[in-house]
Amino acid sequence: MTQMIVIDIGKCTGCGTCELMCSFRHHGEFNPRKARIHKTVFLYDELAVPVVCSQCEDAWCERICPAGAIAHTIEPTSGAAVLKVDEQICVGCKMCMLACPFGNIAVGAKGHAEKCDLCDGDPQCVKFCPRGALHFADSERGEGEKRRKLATALAASYKESE
């Protein structure tokens, strides 16, 4: 069973609660700039999209970290696969920021890389999302597989159209 944060874009209102709870959990303050999940609001399209680390199976950040500080671990309570930064090893060189195409990892004021760590199996963004746009779902519900299929189809059609 692998749990992951699943985003239902149709339900997101862009309220920013996820960012506030994330920064509160990790930094003890309500500061969206310190959050590890970020929403982008497209006002005229009436669309809001939260973006958070997808804990890539074959992750760019993990592959290139020159200190070997980023590694896959299994979160014990939820069984979720999570890419974790070892703060003792990370020197803050920022190469992961260059590598992540989604901008989901950043070096913070403490001098080491910060990214979504799934809050030890209880992601606060999910817990407090007032519209239920975020789920911490296990792949038994099939989202993982469905998403993979959709992504594969999209990737194929993208390649064709090129």
Binding site: R33, R63, I64, P66, A67, G68, I89, V91, G92, C93, K94, M95, M97, L98, A99, C100, P101, F102, G103, N104, I105, A106, V107
Partner: protein, 421 residues
């Protein structure tokens, strides 16, 4: 008999190759040969060690167990001296000879040495590339009141900031008119210069070449072509890198500035691959075959070369010249073509500058495709911009918006500023 895959080198490209070979699970025999007698370490981290942020032990990426786990036979402390691509063998400096079914050249690059100096003085100049180099600088910096650094690139500035200390005079002698002339434009360089000189005691001399260095009063006297002279107790030079390819016979393998490779990372010799700092492969943005000595490129080329040695047919999408670092507390990133040369009629730049926050960001476009970016201080979205550059796309949103950085465009509007050029 399993196929024998031989890897010369033991850093980013070599490790990525070994990992990719094992990930395919073909059961090949892997042998790694490295001149340095130690497990793999991260040259990227040497400046952090130099400034005392991490212990030497933290530089290592592997220990003996890591190689055992991957069933890699290690021949460390020996170097290749010659290849025979006909017989498919490599001659080592201990007299041994290894045969291969596929060979990866991943011996990287070394610091470019200063030329034309007195031999005794030349031997005492420090460089920063290897773990031994870093140890040497640390030892010699102890008690050195005056440090002169020859160069104004990333390594030189990192060394300068690492050794800067109260009571120590640190001077960089830069041949060009700006810092980071290989990475960024003059305007951004000027902001970095002002930051470095304003926040540290480091002095920067531009447009100055060293004519000679002599020993004087237990230290050195560095003579510049301007007639100026600098006294030094420690000399460090950062003049870029040159590929470690002395063992390669140019009649057997095509070499230009580095070893020429195709998109499968194959050299001109059969069953011989090359990856990393010594490989001259296709640059994704210029289309030319270039040396792109950086860690990310080495990891990616190594991964593809390794997989192909083990029977895959992966193609390398091309390298990207890029760098990200923090200079005296100031984050700076450069990606892709940041100093376009040749015919620039079709090149366009979108620039954003906010002196109050010390932010400078520039996007470089050709034919309405993003080909490069320079970001100073506000670099949080560098990965997204990089992804747009390597994908040959434009990022989402207006270019002015992107140049201004995430959330900053709105700030600028609200404050009634027109930072966007």
């Amino acid at each position: 008999m399993p196929r024998r895959l031989l890897i010369l080198g033991n850093s980013a490209a070599a490790l990525a190759a070994a990992g990719a070979i094992r990930a395919r699970g073909g059961g090949e025999r892997i042998t790694m040969v490295s001149r340095e007698p130690c497990s793999a370490y991260s040259p990227v981290l040497t400046t952090y060690y130099l400034r005392g942020q991490i212990p030497a032990s933290a530089l290592y990426l592997c220990d003996a167990g890591s190689y055992r786990e991957r069933d890699i036979e290690c021949r460390f402390g020996v170097a290749a001296v010659a290849l025979d691509t006909e017989a498919q063998t490599v001659l080592l400096d201990d007299g041994g000879r290894l045969s291969y079914d596929a060979l990866l050249l991943a011996t990287g690059a070394r610091a470019r040495r200063l030329e034309g100096l007195d031999a005794v003085v030349a031997a005492e100049i420090c460089y920063l590339r290897t773990i031994d180099d870093a140890r040497r600088i640390r030892e010699r910096a102890d008690g050195a009141g005056r440090v002169v650094i020859l160069g104004g690139g990333l390594v030189s500035l990192q060394v300068a900031s690492a050794v800067a200390a109260p009571g120590r005079q640190v001077t960089c002698v830069v041949a060009s008119r700006q810092v980071l002339s290989q990475n960024i434009d003059a305007e951004c360089a000027e902001l970095i210069r002002a930051h470095i000189e304003g926040t540290t005691g480091i002095a920067l001399h531009f447009g100055a070449d060293v004519t000679q260095i002599v020993r004087a009063n237990g230290g050195y006297r560095v003579c510049l072509d301007s007639g100026e002279e600098l006294a030094a107790d420690l000399l460090v030079a950062g003049k870029g890198v040159v590929p470690n390819i002395d063992y390669v016979d140019r009649r057997q393998i095509a070499v230009e500035r580095g070893i020429l490779v195709d998109d499968q990372l194959r050299t001109s010799a059969e069953n011989v691959y090359a990856a990393g700092d010594l490989a001259q492969g296709r640059n994704r943005l210029t289309g030319r075959r270039e040396l792109v000595p950086n860690w990310i490129n080495a990891c990616e080329q190594g991964r593809i070369a390794g997989a192909n040695m083990a029977g895959a047919a992966l193609s390398f999408a091309g390298s990207v010249a890029e760098n990200i670092t923090t200079l005296c507390g100031l984050p700076v990133a450069s990606v892709g073509v940041t100093r376009p040369d040749g015919d620039n009629a079709d090149v366009r730049e979108v620039r954003y500058r906010d002196d109050e926050r010390g932010v400078y960001r520039k996007l470089i476009l050709r034919d309405d495709r993003l080909i490069g970016a320079v970001l100073l201080r506000d670099i949080g979205d560098v990965g997204v911009i990089r992804s747009a550059i390597v994908g040959g796309r434009l990022p989402q949103g207006s270019l002015q918006h992107v140049a201004a950085g995430p959330a900053r465009f709105a700030d600028a509007l609200v404050r009634g500023r027109r930072g966007v050029a």
